[in-house]
Amino acid sequence: MASLIETRDVHMHFGHVIALAGISFMLEESQVHCLLGDNGAGKSTLIKILSGVFRPSAGEYLVEGTPARFTSPRDALDAGIATVFQDLAMVPLMSITRNFFMGREPVRAWGPLRIMDFRSADRVAREEMRRIGIDLRDPGQAVGTLSGGERQCLAIARAVYFGARVLILDEPTSALGVAQTSMVLRYVHLVREKGLGVIFITHNVRHAMAVGDEFTVLDRGRIAGRFRRGEATLESLQALMAGGKELAELATELGGTV
C-alpha cells in the first residue's frame, strides 16, 4: 500500500540558507505523525512544502505514490491535503458560517440564479462544531467574537469537513487552555479512527506523546531522530528537540522542573 504522502530526500534552500537538508518522511493512513523540533528546525518549511506553499528545491514529494506538482495551497486542498496554519486563515469580521465555507460556498438554484444555501450551511457549521465539542449559539456571529481556542477548533473542523485525507495541524494546541487542548487531542484521535493521516506539529512533547503513532524530530534542517509509539520517552524526545545537552543543564539549574 502506498503511503498517503511521502517525501524523499527533500531539500529546501532560500538563497544561501539551507532550511531543509534531505528530509525523508512518510505518512500512512490512520496514523498520527508528530513533527517535533525547536524553533528554526525546519518544521514550518516542511509543512509549507507538504501543503503546496513552497516547492522543494530538490527531492521528491509523492502523494499516494504519484509525484505532486502543487502550485498553490488550493491544489493541495483539492488533493485532500488540508492544513490548519498557525494564522488559521480566518476573517474575524465574517460570520462563522461564511468563514467555514469560505472558497467552497454551497449554492442552490433560485430560479435561474444560484444563491448561497445559508440554511444548510448554518446547519453543517453547527453540526461540525458540535462534533469538535463547541456548541454554537449562532453560526451567524462574527468569528472575531470567538476565543483563540474556538477559532482553532473551527479551522480544524473546516479542514476535516472538506474531505481531507491528510490533515496537517501546525501547533494546534499553542493557543489553547487545558480543556480545549484535550478536546483537540481527542479530536485528532477521532480523525485518525476515520482513516485520515494527521501530521501534528508541536513544541509540546506531552501533547505529542498523547496522540502520536510516530515521531520525527527535526533539528537544523535534518532529521535528528525517528521513533514509533512506545519506543520514545518524554525525556529522550525533549533532549533531542533541544539538541541534547542544553536542556539537561537547564533542568538542573531550574531544579528539574522543565
Binding site: 486563515a89 480566518m90 467574537t145 478536546m183
Partner: protein
C-alpha cells in the same frame, strides 16, 4: 426564524456510535449573551446611516418647512441628487468591502460622457453604438485599473489616483484636439429616435404624472403640464444597481468572496478564493456605473462636458463610509451606501431649500464623515468583540 434564540436548541442525548467528543462537548455556553433584537439591528452595518436619514428628514421638516422640500417636486429634486450619487456609491461600497478604492470614478464620469458624445456628434455614429463604445472603453479601463492594482500590489489609492488625473486630462485634451472645445453639445439632436438613449437619459411614467396633475395631487406649470414630467431613468438604475448589489453581497458565492477578499486577503487566497478576479471585476463595476452616470447625464442634458463628475469619487467614498463600509475592508453593505447617498441628497438640497449658504454643506459633510468613521470603528469592535 432564528435557530440561535436562547432555549431553541435543547440538549439532545448523543446518538449511538458518536464520538466521545460529541457526547461530552454538548453544553450550551452560558457566557454567550443573548442579544435583544434591537441590539441586532444596532449591529447591522447600515443601521447608523438609516438613523441618519430619519434624523435629517425630521430636522429639515422643521428647518425647511414651507419651502416645498417635501412637496412631490421637491422630493423628486433631492431624490434625483441622491440617485446620481447612489449609482456610483453602491459599487464604490462593494469595492471598499473588498479592500480597495477607486478614485477615478469622478474622472470616469466626464470621460465616458465624452467617449459617447464625440463619436455620436463628430463622427456621425448612431448614438447607441457610441453609447456601447463608451461603456466598453470605460469598463476596459476599469479592468486595466484593477489589473494594475492586483498585479503590482500597490495601494489602489495610488493607482486609481493616477487614473483620476490621466482620465480627466485625456477627456479635456482629446476633446480640445478633436473639436477645439471642452463641451460637446448637439447630442440631443443626434439621439432623436435612438432606442438606447432614452433608457439612460429619459424619464418614465409621464402619463401617470399628467393624471396626478389633473387630480391636483401634484403641482402644474402655467400651461397645465405637471411639475414632474416623469421619473428620471437614473433613479430606476439606482434602484436596480442597489438591488443587484445587495443580492450579490448577501446571497451569492461572489458576495462571500468580496467579504473574504477585503477581510483577509491571505486567508481568502489560501482557501481558494479568486482574490484577483474579485478585485478586477469590482473595478470593472465601478467603471461601468460611473459610465452609466456619465452617459445618462449626456443623454439627459443633450451635451457632454469634460469636467463633469468633479470630486464625485470623494462623494461616492463618503457615501459608502457614511453607509457603514469600513475603510479597511471586509465590512459594509449596499443598502448602507444607498442611505449614505440619501443623506447626501437630503442635506445638500435641504440646505438649499432652507435658504442657507450652501458652503455649510461641506462643513456638514466633513463633520458627518468623521462621525461616521468613528461610529463604524465602534461597530467593528462590537462585531468582533475586540476591546
Amino acid at each position: 426564524m432564528d435557530p440561535s434564540a436562547p432555549g431553541a436548541e435543547p440538549v439532545r442525548p448523543a446518538a449511538p456510535g458518536v464520538a466521545p467528543a460529541e457526547a461530552t462537548g454538548l453544553r450550551v455556553d452560558e457566557r454567550v449573551r443573548a442579544l435583544h433584537p434591537l441590539q441586532r439591528l444596532f449591529m447591522r452595518p447600515d443601521f447608523g446611516s438609516l438613523a441618519g436619514v430619519v434624523l435629517l428628514l425630521v430636522f429639515f421638516a422643521f428647518a425647511a418647512s414651507g419651502s416645498g422640500m417635501f412637496a412631490p417636486d421637491g422630493i423628486m429634486n433631492w431624490l434625483h441628487v441622491s440617485a446620481e450619487l447612489g449609482v456610483i456609491a453602491v459599487p464604490a461600497a462593494l469595492l471598499m468591502i473588498a479592500g480597495e478604492f477607486d478614485l477615478s470614478i469622478g474622472s470616469m464620469i466626464g470621460f465616458s460622457g465624452m467617449a459617447a458624445a464625440i463619436p455620436a456628434v463628430y463622427w456621425g455614429w448612431p448614438v447607441w453604438t457610441a453609447i456601447l463604445f463608451a461603456f466598453a472603453l470605460s469598463v476596459g479601463l476599469g479592468a486595466l485599473d484593477g489589473y494594475l492594482v492586483v498585479r503590482t500590489r500597490l495601494p489602489s489609492f495610488i493607482v486609481s489616483l493616477a487614473f483620476l488625473f490621466v482620465l480627466r486630462g485625456l477627456s479635456l485634451a482629446v476633446s480640445v484636439m478633436l473639436t477645439n472645445q471642452t463641451i460637446i453639445s448637439g447630442v440631443n439632436h443626434a439621439a432623436r429616435g435612438d432606442w438606447l438613449a432614452p433608457l439612460l437619459g429619459g424619464r418614465i411614467g409621464h402619463p401617470l404624472f399628467v393624471l396626478l396633475a389633473r387630480w391636483h395631487l401634484i403641482g402644474t406649470y402655467r400651461d397645465g403640464s405637471p411639475l414632474i414630467s416623469g421619473i428620471p431613468m437614473i433613479m430606476i438604475w439606482w434602484i436596480a444597481i442597489a438591488a443587484v448589489a445587495h443580492f450579490v453581497l448577501s446571497s451569492t458565492r461572489f458576495g462571500n468572496h468580496i467579504f473574504a477578499t477585503g477581510g483577509d486577503r491571505n486567508a481568502a487566497r489560501s482557501l481558494g478564493v479568486p482574490v484577483a478576479r474579485v478585485k478586477i471585476l469590482l473595478f470593472c463595476s465601478t467603471a461601468f456605473c460611473a459610465a452609466l452616470l456619465g452617459i445618462s447625464q449626456v443623454m439627459e442634458f443633450g451635451s457632454a462636458a469634460a469636467d463633469r463628475g468633479l470630486d464625485m469619487e470623494f462623494e461616492a467614498i463618503i457615501a459608502a463610509v457614511i453607509g457603514g463600509s469600513l475603510l479597511t475592508g471586509g465590512y459594509g453593505s449596499a443598502t448602507g451606501a444607498c442611505f449614505g447617498a440619501l443623506i447626501f441628497g437630503i442635506a445638500e438640497q435641504g440646505i438649499y431649500f432652507a435658504n442657507w449658504n450652501n458652503n455649510w454643506f461641506r462643513v456638514f459633510l466633513g463633520a458627518l464623515l468623521l462621525i461616521a468613521v468613528l461610529f463604524n470603528n465602534f461597530i467593528r469592535r462590537r462585531v468582533t468583540g475586540e476591546r
